[in-house]
């Protein structure tokens, strides 16, 4: 059975390692400051006892006043999983650091979030659109995206 680590527990450990990075927590979710996501993820990936070595998925959600980037991570060593979220504000050029340096599996997923949701990942080596073509107007999964251009 994979244990879902409560956000509170992670927040306690993060307060020591990355003070000020945690914004909030609720149930199994933990909200961190977007600019510090790489730092937090590195801690989660490398800290003995946590060792989240499998990045399940990166999702982007458009909550209109902000974007939320959700990281589902799992540890195959300690058999637990966690949900890390980052609220990114601003609709013009929302961005946060890329975690490709930690997990290669983030490569295509971050490109997908950029392609469909329009959230940039700084430090990604190949931040190109993945499903749509370069120069496609708009980001289809945003809530204010109305229809495909004719």
């Amino acid at each position: 059975m994979i244990r879902e680590v409560p956000g509170e527990e992670l927040a306690r450990r993060l307060q020591v390692a990355c003070p000020g990075a945690v914004e909030a927590w609720q149930d199994i979710s933990l909200w961190v400051k977007p600019q510090r996501i790489l730092e937090v993820c590195r801690f989660l990936n490398q800290m003995p006892g946590l060792e989240f070595n499998l990045l399940n998925s990166i999702s982007g959600v458009d909550y209109i006043e902000h974007f939320e980037v959700v990281y589902h991570v799992t540890s195959t060593i300690n058999l637990h999983s966690a949900v890390i979220k980052a609220r990114v504000y601003g609709r013009e050029e929302p961005s946060l650091p890329s975690v490709v340096s930690l997990w290669q599996g983030a490569d295509f997923q971050e490109r997908e979030v950029w392609d469909l949701m329009g959230v940039r990942f700084e430090g990604h080596p190949n931040m190109k659109r993945i499903l749509l073509w370069e120069g496609y107007p708009g980001f289809p999964l945003r809530k204010d995206y109305l229809e495909a251009p004719r």
Partner: protein
């Protein structure tokens, strides 16, 4: 005088006999040797995630059919599990058993397709493919009995399955279960005894477990690298904790292991189905849920061990009848992350086989 030579860039696909759909690989060759490769996606992008935001929770099931169209059952299962987690619905026991039987049958069908196409990519002129499809047909016949459809099944519902299995389904299933091990022996024999096949696949495109895990590779590809990571075992959903089965693992993580592991997994799937047939009891197959489900505000990530890897659905609800966000974690796309790394230095012919051994489905890659 040295002869001037330069690398050649070839677009393999999107129109190519063995890119498994419309995948395009921009490959740089030095003669036959691959120097560099970049996959290009999007030729089958239909915007499923956006479409899902405008459909009710039940209607979304039809969208999931069209993701990995050779494994619709498992797509259904992953989605309804996510939706049940979000809405706090528990499916009745018989419903869960039926789901597991259907999902395991679908796993066998999907692995048959993968095995057949891999052998086809090896150049075995469609014979193994036709043999694999012969057995797959019988599974599709079983599905037809269950829900009337063969490919786009939409058999599962939030809170159970669409309907109970008809009377004549069980004898047909038992007949299939009796025949299948013999066919699997046939494939196994083909695999271990054929010198050409072994020569072509052993030691080619080795992927080690650490690399695979770091690249979020899951499913048979990860297990072939030697890590027994199977969500059915490690995080049992539905009734998988009540059945006995092994998780086959490979040793080297080469094409041969990725190929062999699928045959082993088919055997395990048959074991699971056998136990399900024994254990299944009478009862309702579907919980009483409203036709328009309104889950509470929140989010849920439901995942299963699909035939191609961890298939996950991340659903966000705003309390309305349609998901606010419907995100698909597609194993096909994410498994392709490692393709470039395990291909460089190998030859054109190996590229096709390695791509086949990863077993992608473009419906799921592009969504």
């Amino acid at each position: 005088m040295p002869i001037r030579s330069e690398p050649v860039t070839v677009n393999v696909g999107p129109q190519h006999p063995s890119t498994h759909g419309v995948l395009r690989l921009r490959v740089t060759f030095d003669g036959e040797v691959i120097l560099d490769m970049e996959p290009v996606f999007g030729y089958l992008h239909r915007g499923s995630e956006k479409l899902g935001e405008e459909r009710t929770y039940t209607q979304v099931i039809t969208l999931t059919d069209r993701l990995d169209y050779v494994a619709s059952m498992t797509n259904n299962q992953a989605y309804v599990l996510a939706a049940e987690k979000l809405a706090g619905i528990q499916a009745p026991e018989r419903g869960m058993y039926l789901r597991v039987i259907a999902a395991e049958l679908q796993r066998v069908a999907s692995h048959l397709v993968a095995t057949g196409f891999l052998l086809n990519d090896l150049g075995a002129f469609a014979t193994p493919l036709m043999y694999c499809f012969r057995e797959r047909e019988r599974i599709l016949d079983l599905f037809e009995m269950l829900c009337g459809a063969r490919i786009t099944l939409s058999y599962m519902r939030v809170g159970g399955v669409f309907q109970d299995a008809p009377e004549d389904f069980w004898p047909a299933l038992r007949k299939f279960m009796a025949d299948m091990p013999h066919y699997l022996d046939e494939y196994e024999q083909l695999l271990t005894d054929n010198e050409i096949l072994v020569t072509r696949t052993k030691g080619v495109s080795i992927l080690n477990a650490d690399h695979a895990l770091n690249a979020s590779v899951t499913g048979p590809v990860l297990r072939a690298s030697g890590l027994p990571w199977d969500l059915r075992k490690i995080d049992p959903y539905e009734i998988y904790n009540r059945v006995q089965f092994d998780v086959p693992v490979g040793k080297a993580g080469d094409n041969y292991d990725r190929f062999k592991i699928r045959i082993d997994e088919m055997r395990q799937s048959l074991r699971i189905i056998e136990q399900c047939i024994d254990q299944i009891g009478p009862g309702p197959v579907r919980a009483i849920v409203p036709s328009l489900i309104r889950p509470p505000i929140g989010d849920a990530y439901g995942r299963i061990e699909g035939p191609k890897g961890e298939l996950g659905f991340y659903l966000v609800s705003d309390g309305s009848i349609a998901p606010y966000r419907f995100k698909i974690r597609s194993p096909s796309l994410i498994n392709l992350t490692v393709l470039r790394d395990i291909l460089i230095g190998w030859k054109l012919a190996d590229m096709i086989v390695t791509l086949g051994s990863i077993d992608i489905n473009m419906g799921e890659v592009d969504r």
